[in-house]
């Protein structure tokens, strides 16, 4: 997994690529924790380049959502292809997240101004 981060309209867009599994999810989690520590709480995660997400990866998303709610920030997900979308659906997590159709839409829904 590699992580790409860019900032647009005050929103941090994180694009992981490859597999988010029990080994790589800790890297993503550590990165998101650092973001929170620096006060960034308008976040978009773009899954377009993600082939696979395991339950460890879902847990990272849950903790992120909880953190963002706690700081009154905003989180939107985009780029969920079938393989990733199915994992969110199986766990019953779709209603917990703002799922956007495109990256631009996601940035807007994460409060990009």
């Amino acid at each position: 997994m590699t992580l790409t981060e860019l900032r647009h309209l005050g929103v941090v867009v994180i694009s992981p690529s490859g597999r988010i599994d029990s080994t790589t999810s800790s890297v993503l989690d550590a990165h998101l924790v650092r973001l929170a520590q620096s006060g960034d709480d308008r976040i978009v995660i773009d899954f377009a380049e993600v082939d696979y997400i395991s339950s460890a990866g879902l847990r990272v998303m849950l903790t992120l959502a909880k953190r963002v709610r706690g700081s009154a920030g905003a989180l939107a997900l985009c780029g969920l292809e079938d393989a990733v979308r199915q994992v969110f659906e199986l766990a019953g997590f779709m209603p917990l997240f703002t799922i956007a159709a495109s990256r631009e839409d996601a940035i807007q829904r994460a409060g990009g101004a």
Binding site: S22, L90, G92
Partner: protein, 533 residues
Amino acid sequence: MTCHVRVEPPVAPAFERDLDAAEIVMGRVSSAGLVLPDVSVSRQHARLFQRDGGWWVEDLGATNGTELNGVKISGPTKLSAGDRLRMGGTVVQFDPPPPEPEWRPPTPDPMPAASTDRQAARLQTLNDIHRALATAISLPDLLDLILERCFRVLAPEEGVILLKDAAGNMTPAASRQKPGASSAVFISRRLVEEVAGKGEPALVLDAALDERFSGSESIMTAGVRSVAAAPLADAEGTLGMIALSSRVSVRQFSEADLDLLVSLASAAALRVRNVALAEEAAERRVLERELALAHDMQMAMLPRAMPDRREVSLAARLTPARSVGGDLYDFVLAPDGLWFIVADVSGKGVGAALHMAVAKTLFRATVNGAAPRDLPRVLARINQELCRDNEQMIFTTAIIGHLDWTTGTLTLADIGHLPVVLVDSQGRITTPEVPKNIAFGVIEDAGFDVATIALAGGSVILLYTDGATDARDTRGTLFGAERLAGAIAAGVGQGDRATAEAMVSAVAAAVEAFSAGAPPEDDLTLFAIEYRG
């Protein structure tokens, strides 16, 4: 009676000592009477001792043995003046003839008065440093201690230790400044390449005139600077480097200073390697112990015997993965039927195992005495408990259900889990539609929906975890739902009535054959219920 020895380590400079104890242990360990700074020497390599007015040597079972004048010794052996002992790469001369006045070829030395006295004093310093470094037990402590000793003997204004990180980059791991010195760490990329990359020490008499510091890569601070840098290297390779710098007006380093730094760095490298290995081994041991404990907890929670009754027969397999645990299955036999659960706790180690124990206990407690129509309430209670103090967001997916074996009514709930497979009495394979609920442990006041399915005698239901669908072959291909369906079809057999055991065996064998040679990604659980009617 005292004796005199001259020690010639392979890397560090030679030194001499007078010994007068009744017994002196020689070895790499810091508590040795004569510390030998050499990785090829055993921790307690050999001992010198006095007997009958003479000195003797005895090997202490060292890996590489001890040689006396080129011959390996096998027991206590008497020593004579001029004898040469070899331990690993180190030679110890026993009562050698007085050294030549200039035993070291003179090197051009801009520092005047580098007399043999001063050399001897420095060698003594080195042996002291080697002993001192042995007292540090953590890497940060050790690095601080190395810099502290560098400052004590070489008096730079600034010092930095770079260590190679996991990606192979040299990153600053410790630094130290003389009070009042500039805070910038004075080092250039070229210098790092030369010292750490090629493993060669470097002396910069005047950074302003040295091409290694020309160009934009250098971080120049005020004043003309002198730099001494040495690799932290041992027989296995380069671990990093030490660089010391000073304004020339305060301190200009000499070749003799560099020699001392090189020796100090090689003693330090040995310790850095040992401490790093010990820390790594300790972390690994803790992790392994935790995983072993979690594994034992998981296995202890599984039912020991599966019922095989007139109405119903059960079969199950749980193949644990080494690092990711968390699968669970269980059942409770009630007077009119069977409660069952297959669950997958996210996370690993003891945390997940404890969560698993809680889930199992809650399942057993809540279904006890409950009717099938109580299932939504049962699930809500389990969920509330699993949400409690769940800061880590450990969630649990599960299939929980009840089979009434007098009527064939199956009540089933999907709590964020994979779909259930149903093989009916004609061998048709279907996925019954069951409402999706959110996994346990996420939303405290979540409600739960369940499905009711009428089973005919001869049906088998298969529950599984993602260790099946997410198993990978050596090329990384997922086993997937289609291969799972194929394996189930194979388990049903041609025209036969499916049995719980045949179904579980067929799927387990298919996953195992598919992922042969690839490490298991996740626990694999298969749980089949055969309703005989």
